[in-house]
């Protein structure tokens, strides 16, 4: 393999890591909500899409990328709060399939509402001026905006990790995930904790949608692919494991990119091959703990 091929392989690897980081950002909200609430949120892709549209709409009034960057996850999280409080909460304790069916339908409703308001066809979103252009990343040119998205993903994951592992509220969240009954007996209002977790999960989904917009534009169906990716990442990483989501997201991004390098036709299928293999060898996923689904 000559230097040129090595350089190409390097760039392909880097592209894979970048894609993986975006996948992690897409998946982590789903994984979080499942791990803590055992709610399989089928509306995850719809929240992703709504985040992109909220950003688009907000930008019409506040044309500042950075303000929107902060406001979008907050606003999407608020929608998540309403959904949790009035739709999901009445279904706790009724078995895992009730919230699953609810969010499945809710996803369709959200997509249709967006279609009614914004139309069926997609809308373009331009990259903010400060983040335009490509920079040299040693192995070749790479879009600055994608580097920025990786940065945001790292920051979000870091904050999330600190919040869950290092704060007392995080301690309650973790305890609630293990044994909600005991937590309740100890006098903690667990429903408030779940509300917050649902808001964080949907907020991150919205943020991911907002960040995806300059790369692919926005369209009512943009969440469909994301839901699939998020599920594959969550299943491969292990349901409810934050570390698992990160490892699986990066793994899938890298494999997809290397597949595109060797045999492009296989690149989009590669993630499902990984999922099948992982399910055969470790049905609970790479970092999953058994029994969450039961």
């Amino acid at each position: 393999m000559d230097g040129f091929m090595l350089q190409l392989l390097g760039l392909q690897l880097f592209t894979g890591v970048a894609l993986g980081a975006i996948y992690v950002l897409m998946a982590v909200g789903l994984s979080l909500i499942f791990g803590m609430l055992t709610v399989v949120n089928f509306a995850h892709g719809a929240f992703f899409m709504v985040g992109a549209y909220v950003g688009y709409l907000l930008y019409q009034y506040v044309p500042n990328f950075w303000i929107c960057l902060v406001a979008v996850p907050v606003l999407t999280g608020l929608i998540g709060i309403v959904v949790e409080r009035y739709l999901v909460r009445p279904l706790y304790g009724r078995g895992i399939d009730y919230p699953l069916l609810l969010t499945f339908g809710l996803g369709y409703v959200m997509v249709e509402v967006i279609r009614i308001i914004f139309g069926k066809q997609g809308l373009p979103v331009s990259t903010p001026d400060a983040l335009q252009g490509a920079v040299d990343v040693f192995v070749g040119p790479f879009p600055l905006y994608r580097l920025f998205v990786i940065g945001v993903a790292v920051v979000v994951l870091l904050i999330l990790w600190l919040f869950i592992e290092r704060t007392s509220f995080g301690l309650i969240i973790r305890a609630g995930a293990r044994d909600p009954m005991i937590v309740r007996v100890l006098g903690v209002d667990i429903s408030r904790v779940w509300l917050v977790v649902f808001a964080i999960g949907t907020g991150i989904a919205g943020l991911a949608g907002y960040l995806s917009a300059p790369m692919q534009g926005i369209a009512p169906e943009m969440g469909t692919n994301v839901l699939i990716v998020a599920f594959v990442v969550t299943v491969v990483g292990g349901m409810g494991s934050l570390t698992g989501a990160i490892v699986a997201g990066l793994l899938i991004g890298i494999v997809e990119s290397l597949a595109a390098f060797m045999y492009p036709e296989a690149s989009k299928v590669s993630m499902f091959i990984i999922m099948a293999l992982v399910l055969l060898v470790r049905p609970m996923g790479l970092f999953g703990r058994a029994g969450l689904m039961s």
């Binding site: 066809q121 373009p124 492009p264």
Partner: protein, 400 residues
């Protein structure tokens, strides 16, 4: 008692028959229009509906077929061949559509055509396909108003490809992409350019990043995007973001007005492609001017290329209906096949063997729109006059 009953019965029956007869007289001419309103080609599909509506309105305003009005039945085929077949069947069986116009992908139009062929219903396809011209798919009832990949790539390739050039493809992995790639490969061989590589992607891909390093490494002089609609827009945008434009010319067989408008100046800057229609044709043809003015009055902007195809198809169909003086399928087929028409872009006719509309192909280049006219997004580089030269011969298509 019994006889009265019998007579009432006969009377009732007669009146019912009479009424249905009267109803049939004022029965509208129903034109089914299945297009993919949902999905990555939604913007183009929506404009096809608008344009088809104008053609129907113009027909009705001119008095219809001796007072019989035309009516458009719009259906969403969701860009899915199965759905397209179901919609076509429903249109024919349940809605009693007289004719079908539509289809916005190579695969949906073939499945629609399968149905219309069986049921002997006229179908005018308004999106690109080579297969629909071939003897295996074509039928007496099949007409193709859009350009086909072969003529598009012939016109564009002869203009752009030079001897010794390196050409790479990013191709949507379905009939449209494959046919475009095949067409370009033929021209490249003719002029002595080299195809250095092809990367295929699934329809509806939203992230092309993993394909781009490989394409850049091929160091092509020309990178051809053999994809369509939002796929085209996103892939060209992302290839630009990855810096590929610096050393490579971007070419796309069908440079879409809708995608260009949606993406803005920057994404499509310097991209060259072909099209069936651009509103600037109004400087040459009165029919183009008439369509533009009507469209502007109704919707406040210009008709798009694919939109105008729907106008052209419905317009020529209704012209044939008027000429035949009936909606009888066999007579309308004969009228359409012998029509020499200029509906919106200068002279056209349907070739005898494959019912392909012989028409001009425009080669256009995207430019930055001037401040005073944001719709002035293309420069017409060349107008390839209507000629059967750039079509595959009837023998080659399998006609004897």
């Amino acid at each position: 008692m019994k006889t009265i009953n019998k007579w009432t019965y006969v009377l009732c029956l007669a009146s019912v028959f009479g009424m249905s007869g009267a109803l049939a007289q004022s029965d509208p001419i129903r034109i089914g229009l299945p297009v993919p309103l949902t999905g990555p080609y939604g913007a183009e599909a929506k404009d096809q509906v608008r344009n088809a509506e104008i053609a129907v309105k113009e027909f009705n305003e001119a008095g219809g077929l001796e007072g019989r009005m035309a009516e458009l039945l719009v259906r969403d085929d969701k860009l899915n061949p199965g759905e397209a077949a179901t919609r076509a069947l429903d249109l024919i069986e349940k809605d009693h559509a007289n004719f079908i116009v539509g289809g916005l992908s190579a695969s949906t139009q073939l499945s629609t055509n399968n149905i219309t062929k069986q049921r002997k219903v006229i179908y005018i396809s308004i999106s690109q396909s080579d297969a629909i011209n071939e003897a295996a798919d074509m039928s007496r009832y099949t007409f193709h108003e859009a350009l086909n990949p072969h003529m598009t790539t012939q016109a564009l390739g002869r203009h752009l490809f030079k001897e010794g050039m390196r050409i790479a493809f990013l191709t949507a992995d379905y009939a449209y992409g494959h046919e475009m790639a095949r067409g370009f490969t033929t021209v490249a061989e003719e002029v002595g350019a080299k195809i250095v590589g092809e990367v295929r992607h699934p329809l509806g891909t939203s992230d092309y990043s993993v394909f781009l390093p490989r394409l850049a490494a091929l160091k092509p002089d020309i990178l051809v995007f053999n994809n369509f609609g939002r796929d085209n827009q996103i892939s060209i945008q992302q290839a630009g973001q990855f810096g590929l434009k610096a050393n490579t010319k971007f070419v796309t067989p069908v440079l879409l007005y809708t995608a260009r408008q949606a993406a803005g100046d920057k994404v499509y800057e310097g991209v060259t492609g072909a099209t069936s229609y651009y509103w600037e044709l109004q400087n040459q043809y009165d029919t183009a001017k008439a369509l533009n003015e009507r469209y502007k009055k109704e919707y406040g902007s210009y008709p798009s290329d694919y939109g105008a195809l729907a106008y052209g198809a419905v317009k020529s169909l209704l012209m044939a209906v008027k000429q035949a003086g009936t909606t009888d399928t066999e007579k309308v087929v004969d009228a359409l096949a012998s029509l020499k028409y200029d509906t919106y872009k200068g002279p056209e006719y349907y070739r005898g063997c494959d019912h392909q509309a012989v028409q001009s192909v425009l080669i256009i280049e995207s430019k930055t729109a001037p401040a005073d006219n944001p719709d002035d997004v293309f420069k017409i580089v060349k107008e390839v006059a209507p000629t059967e030269d750039i079509l595959r011969s009837c023998e080659k298509l399998g006609f004897k």
